[in-house]
């Protein structure tokens, strides 16, 4: 069976998600809800033959009572309003905003941990790109401190990211500890205005209290391959460096170019993670 899904939000993330959901065999896209009826996202939904709602989330849900799942790609503030509405209707939600109401999920790390949660949160693009590496190093040794630097093209950071950069930084840092297993975490985000825009890059520094070099390198390589299975443009930008108890890993994320061009890997890693979680829900229902 496939899951019938809707997308809330017609911005960069919602519109990129539109393409990924539409071509996924495990999901059936019903439509998209936005605020501005003239938005490009809604126009693209209409052009694809999907419902495009601009009269509020409740109205859309009334019109489409057979949904199984909703992706929320609006804003943290809007998600806090949507969550009780969705819960009252028994609709599950995969939250791509920084609201962090439900448990945090990074597919490579804890995909199966919160399969029953009504609302799961995908943290940030920085967390999706770096937590798998930190978790892999935690499996190979004890990570005392993890610091990540995510650099994204200025053009790929929408108004939501720009006006909530504190939530981005704090949530990413916290996930390095809670999901990555590091004793302490720090996150830095850099918006790079270079033209032509640069592909999303992440540098992960991890200080390990105990470290077996070969095991660390192998562990990182395996994590990269696992993430690349659901985010095709995810790859090492250079070989990891190991020196003086510190591992430095360089990862870049090239997008599929569904909505924004391929430099916007930061969008793809969020939308690809969201689709991976939804697929897992569908797989589980199929085996019940």
């Amino acid at each position: 069976m496939t899951l019938r899904v809707a997308i809330l939000g017609s911005g960069n993330i919602g519109t990129d998600l539109l393409y990924k959901v539409a071509r996924n065999p495990a999901l059936t896209l019903v439509g998209m809800v936005g605020i501005d009826p003239a938005s490009e996202g809604l126009a693209r939904a209409r052009a694809g033959g999907f419902a495009a709602g601009a009269d509020g989330v409740e109205r859309f849900l009334d019109d489409h009572p057979d949904l199984d799942l909703v992706f929320d790609a609006t804003s943290a503030h809007a998600h806090a309003e949507h969550a009780p509405v969705l819960a009252a209707r028994g609709l599950r939600c995969i939250d791509l905003t920084p609201a962090a109401l439900g448990p945090a999920v990074v597919p490579d790390v804890n995909l199966d941990e919160h399969l029953e949660a009504p609302d799961v949160n995908l943290v940030t693009c920085g967390a999706q790109a770096t937590v798998p590496i930190v978790a892999a190093l935690s499996a190979a040794g004890r990570v005392a401190y993890a610091e990540v630097v995510s650099t994204v093209a200025s053009r790929s950071a929408g108004p939501g990211t720009r006006s909530n950069i504190d939530e981005f930084t704090v949530a990413t840092a916290r996930s390095l500890e809670t999901l990555g297993g590091s004793a302490a975490g720090k996150a830095i985000i850099i918006l790079n205005p270079a033209e032509p825009p640069i592909v999303m890059r992440n540098t992960i520094y991890a200080e390990l209290a105990t470290l077996e070099e070969a095991a660390a390198a192998a562990s990182v390589a395996e994590a990269v391959a696992r993430v690349a299975a659901y985010v095709p443009g995810y790859r090492l930008a250079a070989e990891p460096l190991v020196a003086d108890g510190m591992v430095t890993v360089f990862v870049e994320v090239e997008g599929a170019g569904d909505y924004l061009p391929t430099y916007a890997g930061n969008l793809d890693i969020m939308t690809s993670a969201a689709v991976r979680v939804a697929e897992r829900y569908a797989e589980r229902l199929a085996t019940r």
């Binding site: 504190d166 704090v170 830095i188 270079a194 033209e195």
Partner: protein, 344 residues
Amino acid sequence: MNQTATAPRVRLLDSTLRDGSHAIGHRYTPEQVELIAGGLDQAGMHAIGVGHGDGLGASSIQYMRSLHTDDELLSAARRAIRRARLAVTFQPGIGTKRQLERAAELGADLVRIATHCTEADIATQHIGLSRDLGMDVHGDLMMPHMTSPEKIAEQARIMVDAGATGVHIMDSAGALTMDDVKARLAAMLRELGGEAEAGIHAHQNLSLAVANTVVAIQEGATLADACLAGAGAGNCQMEALVAVLEQIGVPTGIDLWKLEDLADTMVRPIMRTPPTVDRTTLTQGFAGVPGSFLHHAARAAERFGVDARDILVEVGRRKSVAGQEDLLVEVAAGLAAKQRPVAG
């Protein structure tokens, strides 16, 4: 030397204990901070910036760890300052709300929120937050040579609308010439129309730091940053600036002799890398590239047998910004392939 009797037309903000920490590897001790901040306060400085060179919360592997925490350094400065305003720097994406709250608790009066010159909108959240915490806010537009005067004016407007009472043109790469400064200041002042003050933060790469600061003040800037002994990434030298301003009849309210003594007895002896205009720093200003490129360019130059300066000029031409260090390797490889003769 006595302080000038006339009311100051320009207010000087010292960055020795913030930007200057780059020159000592971010290893200021609370004792040094207390002595230098106390001396600056007595000399009549308007504001004294303190903390990691890259701002609150920047002590990290990426930006280098501080020997002492921002907490320790701010507390030390607060103990020593009587009249001046205690200032901190904050870069959205590096620091967080918690560090601003802590700075307010420790008695910071002024927060400088710094962004790349085209990214002012990422500062609105923290400008609002700092104001809510009762602190005054200035915006800093970094790498301003990379965009037009009109764009600078537009970005300054975003910061002022968010609550900044002043906006500084922060010439991080030391790449602006005097006409560049003049054009940016004029556009910004036209846009702000007296709603907020305009300021300058000049670097010495082209040996223009004092000249650029004077030009900015003559154009209408009322705020200027400088460092004792020109500490930092090669900053405008505070005591030289004060001397020049006195000579041209711009009152500063600062005791020049006290500043000179402080610079020579307290700051020069602890600088690990005294600022100098050498082929590296000069090329940085000439090419208009971030300081973080210098080391990478040297390595790529060695690997491909080309001149680091040719690499820097080429990446500057491509308007590269910090975070694009990998581009240096690509450019070096390209230069090597062309086998062009090394420029003198």
